[in-house]
């Protein structure tokens, strides 16, 4: 029963198979979705599994589907998402469910590596530190994606990921674009090759769900457009 003082919350229980379990939770003045999940686990059912760490939008571990929308639950106020005193909380989309609200994020992180979102050094530890110009064009492109907290909200929002399990996804490709534009990255070609295969950037349909839902207001779609442009340019260069 939802009323002024209490909300009704449906929480996913199980893994790939399971069902929603209803809970009654007291409405507080300042309350996040994560607060509600924590309250249920502490006071209503200690067997509820979920994941969080920082509670301040830094670590990227608390993302869940709230009323069908992927969100960082530690920074989502209940008042913003409650519909007629009700909300539904489910594990993040597009990832295998371990138990209840905890997903297996391995596929998400494996794709970061597969997209070559790794550092290829230009210098050794014995060289002096290279100065960066924050206003340089490539640096601005690179910096646009560095506030990513690896929360997988964009990955959950992406319909192309849902329909094509090979697709590397918005976050991994955005990281590849940051690395590609980094003047301290020695191997641009390795990045372009990694994002040009079966699951690469060319699968993206540019519908922008990633950019709409990213809690840090990043725009992976833009980064992917950059990768498409550079791979296309490179396609002719390598042939001539």
């Amino acid at each position: 029963m939802a009323n002024e003082t209490h909300m009704s919350v449906s929480v996913w229980r199980g893994d790939a198979v399971g069902s929603f379990q209803p809970f009654e939770v007291k409405v507080e003045d300042n309350q996040t979705v994560l607060d509600v999940v924590a309250w249920i686990q502490q006071y209503a059912d200690p067997t509820l599994s979920y994941r969080y760490a920082c509670r301040v939008g830094m670590c990227g571990s608390c993302a869940m589907m709230v009323n069908g929308t992927p969100r960082w639950t530690c920074r989502t106020h209940v008042k913003k998402v409650l519909v007629d005193g009700h909300m539904q909380i489910a594990p993040l989309r597009n990832l295998p469910v371990i138990k209840d609200l905890a997903t297996d994020m391995d596929p998400f992180f494996d794709k970061w590596v597969a997209a070559e979102g790794v550092h290829h050094p230009t210098l050794t530890r014995n060289d002096p530190i290279e100065a960066l110009d924050p206003a340089a064009e490539a640096r601005v492109e690179s910096a646009a994606g560095i506030e990513c907290i690896n929360c997988s909200v964009c990955y959950a929002a992406c319909d192309t990921v849902a329909n094509n399990p090979d697709f590397l996804g918005p976050a991994a490709l955005q990281r590849a674009w940051s690395v590609y534009n980094d003047s301290k990255n020695a191997d641009k070609q390795a990045v372009l090759d990694a994002v040009s295969g079966v699951g690469g950037c060319h699968n993206c349909h540019s519908q922008g769900s990633c950019a709409v839902h990213c809690p840090n207001a990043l725009n992976p779609m833009n980064a992917i457009a950059g990768l498409k442009r550079e791979t296309a340019r490179n396609f002719f260069k390598r042939r001539s």
Partner: protein, 109 residues
């Protein structure tokens, strides 16, 4: 969708874009003063130019449509690997054969 398929689909789209405009332009021009099969065939029969225009159009559509439907089959019907590529080649061949038959029909003497 790999880089190669992406490039083939975008380049075929680039080829189609001006041909679509030309096609519409000629249609508007041709129907001034009525439309008859004899009039159209009189223009296209034995014309190397119209054969080249519509032949290129058909080739581009076959490439573009086959790659586009390949994406749809993969994302909506879960086709993968060899099955997916076989389906795309079949669509390519079907579009090419039907299209070239039509081009032959209107341009052969």
């Amino acid at each position: 969708m790999t880089l190669g398929l992406y490039m083939a689909q975008r380049i075929s789209a680039l080829i189609m874009a001006p041909l679509v405009l030309l096609h519409i332009g000629v249609m508007i021009y041709a129907i001034q003063g009525g439309l008859s099969a004899a009039e159209i065939l009189g223009r296209t029969k034995g014309s190397i130019l119209w054969f080249a225009v519509y032949g290129t159009f058909v080739a581009a559509v076959s490439v573009h449509g086959a790659i586009g439907l390949r994406t749809v089959l993969s994302e909506w019907m879960g086709l993968r690997g060899g099955t997916l590529n076989a389906a795309a080649w079949a669509i390519f061949a079907l579009l090419l054969v039907l299209g070239m038959l039509a081009v032959h029909g209107v341009t052969a003497r």
